[in-house]
C-alpha cells in the first residue's frame, strides 16, 4: 500500500523537522513546557508519519528496530546512571548535585523575567535527555511491532 508521491514527499520533508522539534522540546525541557517524554513522543511521531506515508519495509530500511531497542535501553541507563551519580557526590539517589556548584548546568537562574538559560537546572536536563531517548526508542518499537503484526495478518 503506497500513498501518492505528494504525500510521501511531504512526509519525507517533515520528518527531519519532527525530529528537530522533538529535540528542541527535550533539550528545553527544564525551561519551557515539555520535557523528555513529550519531546520523545514528538520524535516518535516522525516515525508514525513515515509509516503512514510509506510501505513498512521502506521505513524499516531507514529506522531499524534493533537500533531503537538499544535507544530504549540506553535512555533508561542514562536516567539510572544520572540518579546514581548523586551517590558518588555524597548525596542520596537522584539528588540534584550538579546545581548550583557542579561542573555542568550550574548557572543560577537570574532573578526577574528573563529569556532563560540552557545552562541551568543541574541534573534535570540530563534526565530529560535520557527520558527523551528512551521514549523515542520505546514508542518507535511499539509502532513498528504493531505494524509488523498487521502486515503478517495481510500475508495470510
Amino acid at each position: 500500500m503506497k500513498m501518492t508521491k505528494i504525500v510521501r514527499t511531504t512526509a519525507d520533508l517533515f520528518f527531519p523537522f519532527c525530529l528537530v522539534f522533538g529535540l528542541y522540546v527535550v533539550v528545553h525541557g527544564h525551561l519551557t513546557p515539555g520535557g523528555g517524554f513529550q519531546g520523545g513522543a514528538v520524535m516518535a511521531t516522525g516515525t508514525a508519519l513515515l509509516l503512514v506515508a510509506r510501505a513498512y519495509d521502506d521505513v524499516t530500511g531507514r529506522i531499524r528496530k534493533g537500533a531503537m531497542k538499544v535507544c530504549e535501553a540506553a535512555g533508561l541507563l542514562i536516567f539510572l546512571c544520572a540518579g546514581f551519580s548523586g551517590l558518588f557526590a555524597g548525596r542520596p539517589f537522584m539528588a540534584n548535585w550538579l546545581a548550583p556548584d557542579g561542573a555542568l548546568f550550574r548557572t543560577s537562574i537570574a532573578h526577574g523575567p528573563n529569556a532563560g538559560d540552557l545552562n541551568t537546572a543541574g541534573l534535570l536536563p540530563l534526565l530529560n535527555v535520557g527520558v527523551g531517548i528512551e521514549v523515542l526508542g520505546g514508542l518507535t518499537v511499539i509502532l513498528l511491532y504493531m505494524l509488523s503484526g498487521i502486515k503478517e495478518e495481510k500475508k495470510k
Binding site: 511499539i142 511491532y145 498487521i150 503478517e152
Partner: protein
C-alpha cells in the same frame, strides 16, 4: 454564583466522562471499544487530578518571577504527567494483546473470547 459553577464544571465533566467510560466498557462487546472506554476513564481521572490543583487567584510556581500572592502547588500536574505516561504504556500493551487475540481467535468480540473457564 456563576464563578462557583465554573469552578465545579471540571468535576461535573469528570463525573460525566467516568460514567461514559464505564457505560462504554460495560455495553460494548468489541475489545478495542472496551479499551477506548478505559482510555476515556483514564482521561477523566487525569482531568480530576489537574482540577484539584487549581487554586483561585494563584500564580504559577516559577521561582524567578513571582508576584505576591499564593502559588499553585505543582505536585498534581507532575502526578498527571506521570499518570499519562503510565496510561500510554498500558494502552499500548493492551492494544497489542487485543491484536494477538484477534490473530489467534479471529474475533474481537469479548463474548467469544472465552477459552478460559472454571
Amino acid at each position: 454564583m456563576t464563578s462557583r459553577l465554573l469552578l465545579a464544571l471540571p468535576y461535573f465533566t469528570v463525573v460525566v466522562l467516568i460514567v461514559l467510560g464505564l457505560a462504554v466498557m460495560l455495553s460494548k462487546r468489541n475489545v478495542v471499544k472496551i479499551l477506548m472506554g478505559l482510555s476515556l476513564m483514564e482521561s477523566a481521572v487525569n482531568l480530576f487530578l489537574v482540577a484539584t490543583g487549581y487554586r483561585h487567584d494563584s500564580v504559577a510556581p516559577i521561582f524567578t518571577n513571582v508576584p505576591a500572592g499564593p502559588m499553585a502547588l505543582p505536585t498534581v500536574q507532575a502526578l498527571t504527567l506521570t499518570s499519562i505516561v503510565i496510561g500510554v504504556a498500558t494502552s499500548a500493551m493492551m492494544l497489542s494483546f487485543a491484536m494477538v487475540i484477534y490473530k489467534k481467535y479471529g474475533t474481537t468480540d469479548i463474548q467469544k473470547i472465552k477459552k478460559l473457564k472454571g
